[in-house]
Subunit: 363 residues, 2 copies
């Protein structure tokens, strides 16, 4: 059974938790907004379900709730931001603002971030560019759970890429996806239901195909987008690698198998070659390429044409990236956000541990 | 049986063909170098095997061999280049040079191209950045052969992405891949051998899974990277769409199902919304992010660590993107380039039609 909460309830509770962690009012408000954008958009694995994880990282001393986030290197169109071990939920919007500011003067802005933590959904940050008539790009590295093609070793995170492109009358194009065949959140859903995965999502620790949704707990690995060599897993491996390099090698963060793990109980890797997690952001001003009006007209035409592509039998229509999440956001804003019992229990114990009265927020 | 030619033979012949088409000496030399880089790197579908296709496009009046390639819009870090219907093999290096020049002053350079044609392998253009200690990015849209997830209509090309990242003592990281499960060239190889494709590469015109390597000739479609929804084809569809939008909507080229077809016998789409094919290039100066020396040390560390990831049983080692092509280039530079008989026959008839003495070059 699901518990359904209205957005404001979850927001007030989450804000209280970040405040208790020592975040300033502004930081708590921003972190809450970024985190809960995942719940609104239907990416349940990345929203309030992760709040307890952030709290545990903070308790383990891995999150600085009063960080001095700053630019440490720059050129007219680039910057490197040091997140000072802050919440990625706060560091990432700061860095994306820098990218947008750079784009305002240089046409485009590109910001690599080091010394950060998990930043919520990539799509939130990419979408910040839309209000400025810019295309936004966001990516991040993450805890190593993915085996490269031909390997049994976990070397890469699910390393998502988000690209948000403005349109005119049509809603924007918003792609946001892990560079693996299936995101970790998909496994968690199957674990709860005690169901098997399709072939091609995970392999066991010896490199054999597996359908066990708990494979990651047994030293198995997620597979890169493409699943196996014959179906292009070397392309997913390359994509995940590019995200890792842009996010962490360009910035001075820790990369590959040395990326700091999200679960606080997993010890930090030894001999880390950089600081914290890394992100990479881009903003491209539309009128740095052609008139914004012209571009938007053509984006409307592009979106309209693809939405009207002939559907395959059994399918009603072709989707544009961002359609399902936008529809979910409209629905959940109105009808509330369902939270599974195990997450509610988790939040209760977070509240208890921090001296927050759970029932005052999420009764 | 394969015919093996040394690089210089193929180069002299190709140069003669481009010269006969009316290219200047410089343009013919450049187009030859770009085209044959595919044969050297083992991407046989994109090299001299396509020469007859370029000739037919030129005969159909779709290629201008004396183009006025020029910048039509710019900002400190961006430009739009109009290729004036020139060979993509010549237009693309021009545009990539503009990106590199922009990066020298602005930190990064981003160039969208309209009114171009097929540009050979994306990797060639991305790799131009390496000599400048820059990361290079290249992508292009192409003839519509790919059905979006849930569709039976061909809406996108194989829309490749190439990313070349410099290293220090290690060879550079060079990813270059179609955003489909399998590139069209893979189908052509199976056609020649009369073999079936694996499930997940193509679908028939009704949207059913197929293993017929000739499916594209029967109105079937290539599938986006991921193959089906359950294995992430919506991600491959999103990637191909991003390439299409960056290459063609940003630049003013023709996009989606309106991209001009490569085979000259296929009529041009009606009501094209832009001019010619589109490309998109990026160059990022390494020291716009951190010192080049530091970056290269960490890239060496990244590459070394991934190359030494534990291999899966039955595999000798984990590959770094670019490894197979680099090894192939070393081998073919020494031992020559094998060309299948059907391509040799094709080149013979090209020579005949243009009054070039085939035996003087490729006896």
């Amino acid at each position: 059974m699901n518990n359904v909460y209205i957005y404001q309830q979850l927001s007030d509770f989450t804000n209280a938790v970040f405040s208790k962690m020592g975040c300033s009012d502004d930081a708590a408000t921003l972190a809450t907004k970024v985190l809960l954008s995942a719940d609104l958009r239907g990416i349940d694995s990345h929203g309030v379900a992760r709040l307890a994880g952030y709290v545990r990282l903070w308790q383990a001393g891995r999150i600085n709730t009063n960080p001095n986030i700053r630019i440490v290197h720059e050129s007219p169109s680039t910057a490197v931001v040091d997140g000072d071990a802050g919440l990625g939920l706060v560091v990432a919007p700061y860095a994306m603002e820098v990218a947008i500011r750079k784009a305002q003067t240089a046409g485009t802005g590109w910001v690599a971030v080091r010394n950060s933590n998990h930043f919520g959904i990539a799509g939130y940050h990419a979408m910040m560019a839309l209000a400025h008539d810019m295309t936004g790009i966001a990516m991040t590295n993450a805890s190593a759970l993915v085996a490269p093609t031909f390997s049994i070793e976990r070397m890469l995170g699910t390393n998502p890429i988000a690209v948000a492109i403005p349109a005119g009358k049509q809603p924007p194009f918003v792609a946001d996806f892990a560079t693996t065949t299936a995101a970790n959140g998909k496994l968690e859903i199957l674990q709860r239901k005690n169901e098997a995965t399709p072939v091609g999502w995970v392999q066991d620790k010896a490199g054999n195909p597996s359908t066990d949704a708990n494979e990651l707990k047994k030293q198995g690995a997620l597979l890169p987008l493409g699943s196996d060599r014959e179906h292009g897993s070397h392309k997913g491996y390359a994509l995940g690698s590019i995200v890792d390099i842009f996010s962490a090698v360009l910035s001075g963060a820790s990369y590959g198998p040395w990326a700091p793990p999200f679960p606080a109980y997993v010890p930090m890797p030894e001999n880390m070659p950089g600081q914290g997690l890394g992100h990479f952001f881009g903003a491209m001003r539309t009128d740095a390429f052609r008139s914004t009006e012209e571009f938007k007209e053509h984006m409307d035409n592009w979106i309209g044409r693809f939405r009207n592509a002939t559907p395959a039998p059994g399918h009603e229509k072709v989707l544009i990236p961002g359609d399902p999440e936008r529809e979910m956001e409209a629905q959940r804003s109105k009808e509330g956000i369902p939270i599974v019992q195990s997450v509610v229990d988790d939040l209760k114990s977070v509240a208890e541990g921090m001296g927050i009265e759970f029932d005052a927020y999420l009764a």
